[in-house]
Structures are given as structure tokens and as C-alpha cells.
Symmetry: C2
Subunit: 285 residues, 2 copies
């Protein structure tokens, strides 16, 4: 164990700063921060912000693991101090449910979330599976994640060290060609995920993993340069073992101005550890 806490853990740390028990439900208030360098072209990564919110919920509910977490992204996050209000909805025998809000220092709401939390240390049950981990070349034969296609070196220099330096992404070579203007034609992105400092990924870290890869539509035949997320739901099945995580994100239906992006994340033992879906907008031209 390194003496200093790993980058992700520090960057998503929270501290309870107060409580509000005047309403019908218990509300815990936490101080947190959007740390420098977790952005993509200036806006903090959504999964990174969601991880901080989940950490506050875990603390307030005293349940170690997120099981299902839904987020609506209301405003872009910038580096600086933030606060999190956790509103306890239900404390059950196995699961507790809380809603939460992430606010910046001016009181502007960045995220609104709703989630269920539990203890996944003994997550077991029957197995029936009609899916498998993606067929990925070894991490060293994959491609380090490129910056978003619309960016230029000048943009990146201005934005400072970005999210892509905080995570270690290795894309499947067949899915990385969009960087050079050669999308695969199939709305899918596969790759490995790790933290550069090699720190272990826990169930809160999985929330970051599930929002870390480039949008699937960068590989579609549609000329979409960005697809803002309207809603994101993560389902955490179990705690991952150490090592690289194999990720696959696909989009089946772009229609009526919307698209879904479905994610599957598998650990190094081949277990499904997380599943996600987000609803994104097709920007109007």
C-alpha cells in the first residue's frame, strides 16, 4: 500500500460537514471538490463527479457499495470546492436508497442522483449468461485513448492535464481508428481500463470506469462530434478483482434525437462487475 492515498480516491474524497434534520427525512451534507485534471476540454468527467456523490451516499447510509446509481447532469462541473446533500429515502435490511445533489460553490446544481446501496462483499447467486467479455488484444497491443476528435493540441494545452491522463485506457485497435477519421462503422468502443498508479478499482471506481471511454457514436457513420448525456444509470454487480477491466460499450438505436449507450465491464477473472446505460442527445444541427 502506498502511503499517499491513490489519485482517484483523493480526488473523490468527501467529509461530512453538517446535517439537516428539520425535514421528514435525514439529510447529510458533505464537502467535496472537483479536482483539477479530471476534465475533458474543461468540463469534469461525469463518472468522476458521480463517484464523489456515491462516496457521500456510502458514508451517510453506512453501506459500502453502490448497486444502482442514476444521475442527471444539470450543469458542467469546473474545478473548485463543491458540496453534496444526501437525502435518505429508505434504510432497509439489505438495501438503502438515497437521493443526492452535487452543488458548486455558488450553489449551482451540477448533478441530481438517485441510488441504492448495499454490501456486496458476499454477492452470490445462480449464473445464467448470454454475454461474454470482449475479445481484446493484450493492453500493450491496444491503443492509448485519443483526445476527442474535435480537439486540437492548442485546446488541450489550454485545458491543462485532462481526464485522459488520470486514467489508463487502451482501446481495441479496430475501435480506435475514428481518431484518424476512420470510424469502424459500428457504434461500439471496446478497451481496457486501469488507473495509471495501478491502484485497485473498487465499486465506486466502477462508476468512473462506466463513463470513461469515448462515445460509441464516434465509430458510427453519423457525423456526431459530441453527444451530451441526459441520464446515466450504473448497475454494480460485484466487487472487481485486481487487474485490468475489460469494457465494451455499444449503441443499438439512434432515433428521434436520442441514443442509448450500453456498457458492460468485466474483471480480470472474467466476471461481469458492472453494467450501464446512458441516454444521450443527438445535438440539433
Amino acid at each position: 500500500m502506498p502511503e499517499e492515498s491513490p489519485g482517484f480516491e483523493r480526488a473523490t474524497s468527501v467529509a461530512r460537514s453538517g446535517a439537516d434534520s428539520t425535514g421528514p427525512r435525514r439529510t447529510g451534507v458533505y464537502s467535496s471538490q472537483v479536482e483539477e485534471g479530471w476534465d475533458i476540454l474543461g468540463n469534469a468527467n461525469g463518472g468522476y463527479m458521480l463517484a464523489s456523490v456515491a462516496r457521500a451516499c456510502v458514508a451517510e447510509l453506512e453501506r459500502p457499495d453502490p448497486v444502482s446509481v442514476t444521475a442527471h447532469f444539470l450543469s458542467p462541473g469546473r474545478p473548485g470546492p463543491t458540496s453534496i446533500e444526501v437525502d435518505v429515502q429508505r434504510e432497509g435490511r439489505r438495501f438503502s436508497v438515497a437521493s443526492a445533489r452535487l452543488l458548486d460553490s455558488e450553489g449551482r446544481q451540477l448533478l441530481s442522483t438517485l441510488g441504492a446501496f448495499s454490501d456486496l462483499s458476499d454477492a452470490t447467486g445462480p449464473l445464467q449468461i448470454d454475454a461474454e467479455p470482449p475479445d481484446l488484444p493484450a493492453p500493450d497491443e491496444c491503443v492509448g485513448a485519443p483526445p476527442p476528435p474535435e480537439s486540437t493540441d492548442a485546446d488541450l494545452a489550454t485545458a491543462g492535464p485532462s481526464f485522459m491522463n488520470r486514467v489508463d485506457l487502451r482501446l481495441h485497435p479496430d475501435d480506435a481508428g475514428f481518431r484518424e477519421g476512420r470510424p469502424s462503422g459500428r457504434a461500439r468502443v471496446r478497451g481496457w481500463f486501469g488507473f495509471p498508479d495501478g491502484s485497485a478499482i473498487d465499486t465506486i471506481g466502477l462508476l468512473c470506469v462506466l463513463d470513461a471511454l469515448p462515445p460509441t457514436v464516434f465509430n458510427s457513420k453519423l457525423p456526431l462530434a459530441w453527444v451530451p448525456t441526459l441520464e446515466f444509470t450504473a448497475h454494480i454487480r460485484c466487487r472487481p478483482t485486481s487487474g485490468w477491466l475489460a469494457c465494451e460499450f455499444t449503441t443499438r438505436v439512434v432515433s428521434s434525437g436520442f441514443l442509448e449507450e450500453d456498457g458492460l465491464v468485466w474483471d480480470s477473472e472474467g466476471k461481469l462487475v458492472a453494467q450501464s446505460r446512458q441516454l444521450a442527445l443527438v445535438p440539433r444541427g
Copy 2:
């Protein structure tokens, strides 16, 4: 148009009864009801209750259509008066976001929700699609939905007229054999959905459609008689045209004590109108 309002619309009606503007956000309070006969063995159908909550959000936000709605089911709903608190999170140019809570007459919380609402009257955009409506025989060649497999006629008589009389479900013959102890072996259920009075299905009605079919796992090889829903998210793409809706629900991964159930709903013109995912629990024996 019949003079009496159709069954579903009446059963999910809401009326604004108050507001709370003491907090930082606007909260609207609505009176509603769990009507008799929308239950399965005594517990009100989740999609039915969610439709009432969405109707209150639509009224409070003055946005006619749910786009993304997430629900956590906290307690079973029984017939009787209920109330809905709608907490406005954000009012944007195209989308507004609200959380809401459904409470019974004793103040017990039944549902906690988070959703985005908009106007889908002009939902358009590019189309790229890697999915198609299920291949269903004509409704008259399909099978009326059976009661859940663990029920007996005596149970149903006690429970009174149930949810299955409020909706008109016609299952694919290949997917209906679980009723006689012959599951197909694939965790999938396909069928048509309509309302028995022939009333049109709007975007709020789709929330009911997305939770109306028997669980996919009734067709799996796992001996699961019930699978309580932990979390349910509906994505509404556009307003359906009139006529039968073609539905397909599938489960890919049962693992670690959880399973996901994914739904696709297509209208009579072959357009994808809604998509859903729920996370359900595998009960511990």
C-alpha cells in the same frame, strides 16, 4: 371519444393540492390514488404507480412528455388514496428535471423517482438502428397473458380483478409455455400490448407498458418464481401512433444475485417508442 375518461387515464389522474416553497426548490404536492384492480396478487403494478408519478411531474414542470424516468420501489402499493411530492431540480430550455416521491395515506413512501421531461411532439433526428421489432404472430394468434406461475385460482379470486384485466397482453406462443411448466429456455418474453377499452397509449402510458409483461426469467432455466425490482429506468423516444405495441424483453446476465431486464417497445408503424432496463434481485433461497 367516449364521454367517460378511459380507465388508465382516470386510474392515474392527479390533482395539485398544495405547494411548498420554503425550501431552495419548488415542490408541488398532488393528490392521487392507487385504484383497485391494478394489482398483481395484491400489490399494485410498478409501472402503473410510476405513471401517476409521471403525470404529477408533467403537471408541475409543464412539460408534456417523460423522456427518462427512474424509479426505486420502496414499499408495495395497496389500493387507497396517495400523494405525490414533486421536487423541481432544474427547468431548462428543452428539458426539465424533477425528483418525486409517492406516499400512501399513512405517509409511507412507496416510490422514489428521478426524471427528465420535455415536449416530444417534434422528436426527430438521424436514424441508425441495429435492432428490429419482434417477429410476432397477429394478436389473435397470440396467447392472453397468464397469471404468475405461483398463483392459484383461489389466490386470484381473493385478490379480485387484477392488473391482467386492465391491460390486453398477447404473448408470443413460443414465450407463453412457462404457464404450463414449459419455459422456452431463453430469458425472453415477447408480446403485444393494448388497453382493453382501445384507448390510445401516450408517453405516460408507455411507462405502464414497460412494466406489464411477465418476468423474462419465467422463460429461463432458473427456477425463479418472482424477481423483485430494485430499480427501473424508462427512456421514451417518441409518441406512439395508435394501435398495438410490439414489446420484447430480454435478460442477458443473471449473476451475483442480480439480473437486468431490457425492454424495447415499437409502435404499429415500426418505430422504436420506448426502451427500458430494470435491475431485479434473485431472491435468496
